[in-house]
């Protein structure tokens, strides 16, 4: 017990959950919002922007990258990370889809 029973859910559900989960932490929200704010995607100052230690930020960046939410690499002595549009679009489409379906229903009894 303790581990998520991924094997019982569909691949789609697991993939979505992984993507969504990666954004389910305020530090990672903050990272994405910072990447959105800066013009340049070379943002070696990301550690200074967050109230967390350098190893912790590095770990959060890794999680975002593993999930596919950001892409990029270290280039010399600077990070070059940016948001991966495809992942954001996937999330946008998913919630738009749910929202549309809900509007069509309009039989909420609660």
């Amino acid at each position: 017990m303790g581990a998520t029973k991924t094997e019982h859910f569909t691949d789609k559900q697991n993939a979505l959950a992984t993507l969504i989960k990666a954004l389910g932490h305020p530090a990672r929200i903050a990272i994405v919002e910072y990447l959105l704010k800066v013009d340049d995607c070379i943002c070696g100052d990301i550690v200074n922007e967050l109230p967390l230690s350098q190893p912790t930020v590095s770990q959060h960046l890794k999680e975002l990258k593993t999930a596919g939410l950001i892409k990029g690499n270290v280039e010399g002595n600077a990070i070059c990370y940016c948001i991966d549009e495809k992942a954001i679009d996937k999330l946008r489409d998913y919630f738009a889809h749910i929202s549309t379906k809900l509007e069509k229903k309009k039989n909420n009894c609660c």
Copy 2:
């Protein structure tokens, strides 16, 4: 250490992370998708639809409700839960907002 340092992030970031995190589990994705599929929102069979025990499903439902993603109550001997549109719309708007901003940038160097 170990606990998320919510006090260092904005209220908006924390609220969003909480909402998103609630959907960051395949079982809770499956629950929302099931609620979307059934016409009726009286869905006492939700336990039978999921590959998890009744207490576990109950716990996931509670988390979704606490996060504001579903609303409703037990009515007699049946659950009456349904998706809370407001929460879904909030997520839809957030990702649509990010997506729009990304399109305007188009300076991805990665």
